[in-house]
Symmetry: C2
């Protein structure tokens, strides 16, 4: 009745941007990500007869409010699967995902919770089934079940039974790196959930975004399979720019970019001109992640750290999927 | 055989972004602009029997190369209309449009050239006919024939005979102002001509842009007619963001924005939050133009001038159409 699991966060190279079902979290497009070695969540779930409700500790602090409710709601799914809806759990999570780095800790958080929770409840699931379950806690978390490169196939069934991640390439397929560039300002006036929704509902560019995904996915998978860094980087960078372009067309328009976001993007373009292969990607926030190859690590870290307004540069390798401790 | 005319530049509130015919300059969408009092070109054209070719002086310097060719090619149109294809002209232009302010001097330049050239050639044209002629020298110049607010109706005929500007409201209809924010960096790796073309040819957002124009035009004209500053500002700002969003989807993607461009946009949004009505618009370059009302002029100039990376703030009122001197 007790289990511990670890899951790593992931960074999308082809972005998840829009839901077709908000209740069970079904996306409007397939996406593809890189699981990251450096940032993870370790979660212990213990089901206890004596508990009258779930408890949730994050970094040893009890959690209440909306964050608690999302966890308790997700545990309901596990209880239902296990056939015991009256058994409550103590959940203890340790987050090694610095919020300031702009990674969604919900990805590693819900993947670790799903893995530890199902194991503690005695439910035996394939990773594919686990990915489907995880998806209902946090969409992008379904990709964190797998290490290396993972594709979240959107599926087309209304019940979500074909919407889950699959591994595209394992962790040891390719040693590429990600630098998370942390800015001294933070601003996120529009949550990613709200931003997605407003974009889907109002942006004249949304159908163009959707139409462009199948080719981006096909091309980036071809690039990953032959380890073509330039190809993968170009597609990832262009895909990120398209995602952010859709928000500029929303009503009212919005952007996740700050001036320093723009400076980092310019710096990456200048690095390429000077012969250092590097590409950026940006999620629903101002921070920038830079893809690079191991032999340029020192130079990349130096150049990015020297940008005015950058407070930290955190490096990561390709990570593994969920593990049980 | 000699005439002098003056034309003012204009700033588009609904952007011209894409050509359906590059030869005679027919746009893929209608656009709407504000003619600006502060920035203009004064041009004298004299047809002389003794000239063996056209001569062109800009700010008293002889001009050669592509800029000369565009002027000579445009004079051919006037000669053809006048029925005398062997008569060459001396053209002298004085430009009061600072290139650094990021205004297209081609708008005031070709409008003044068309007005002075036709008058010198003894061709009597309505302003509407003059606008059609001017369009073939530089698209956005066709709006500078008129003062106040002008709409360039794209038309649908293949010969361009219904593609010209009309006045939407005269100069004295509404005293709104424009601050041109000049940045200390300049970068324009992609010309507006090339940028338009690449966007039309490759951006998945281009059809969304085109689809959104009719409503933007209808709404902004409604706003102008009742002098609703907030409505006009909101539509202009959103339209500019949409135009720039289309470039992020192009292949390869590009942007005209620099970090300071982003800072100025953020500052304008913050001004609004603090109760100062102001809206931005940006053409195919990094500089920002800010729309404001006269009573906030001092404050606006102060705030914009204080932004790091801003070297100059040039103010302008609504301007008049072409005048003959």
């Amino acid at each position: 009745m007790k289990a511990t699991a670890r899951a790593h966060t992931n960074i999308a190279l082809i972005k998840y941007w829009g839901k077709r079902n908000e209740q069970i979290i079904l996306p409007t497009n397939s996406s593809l990500s890189l699981t990251l070695d450096g940032f993870y969540t370790t979660t212990t779930v213990e089901f206890k007869e004596e508990l009258a409700k779930d408890t949730f500790y994050l970094n040893d602090e009890p959690v209440k409010g909306e964050q608690y409710s999302r966890v308790a709601k997700f545990l309901n799914l596990i209880r239902r699967t296990a056939g015991n809806e009256q058994l409550y759990a103590e959940v203890r999570s340790i987050n090694e995902v610095p919020t300031a780095a702009g990674f969604a800790s919900s990805a590693s958080g819900f993947a670790a919770l799903a893995a530890a929770g199902t194991k503690a409840a005695g439910v035996d699931m394939s990773n594919q089934e686990l990915s489907k379950l995880t998806r209902q806690g946090s969409g992008s978390a379904c990709r964190s079940i797998f290490g290396g490169f993972a594709e979240w196939r959107m599926g087309n069934r209304a019940d979500g039974s074909d919407s889950h991640a699959v591994q595209v390439a394992p962790q040891d397929h390719w040693d590429i790196r990600v630098a998370a560039v942390v800015l001294n300002e933070t601003m996120k006036e529009v949550s990613s959930r709200e931003g997605m929704k407003r974009t889907v509902d109002t942006s004249p560019f949304y159908s163009g975004w959707i139409d462009s995904i199948p080719n981006d996915l096909k091309e980036i998978k071809a690039g990953i399979s032959v380890r073509d860094f330039e190809k993968v980087g170009q597609i990832a960078e262009a895909n990120c720019l398209k995602m952010h372009a859709t928000t500029l067309g929303a009503n009212p328009p919005f952007t996740y970019w700050l001036d320093t976001t723009m400076t980092v993007m310019q710096t990456v373009r200048e690095m390429r001109k000077s012969g250092i292969p590097a590409y950026f990607t940006i999620d629903a926030g101002p921070n920038v992640k830079v893809l690079y190859l191991p032999q340029y690590e020192e130079k990349i870290q130096q150049i990015l750290s020297d940008i005015e307004g950058v407070t930290d540069v955190r490096l990561s390798k390709v990570g593994q999927g969920i593990t049980y401790l």
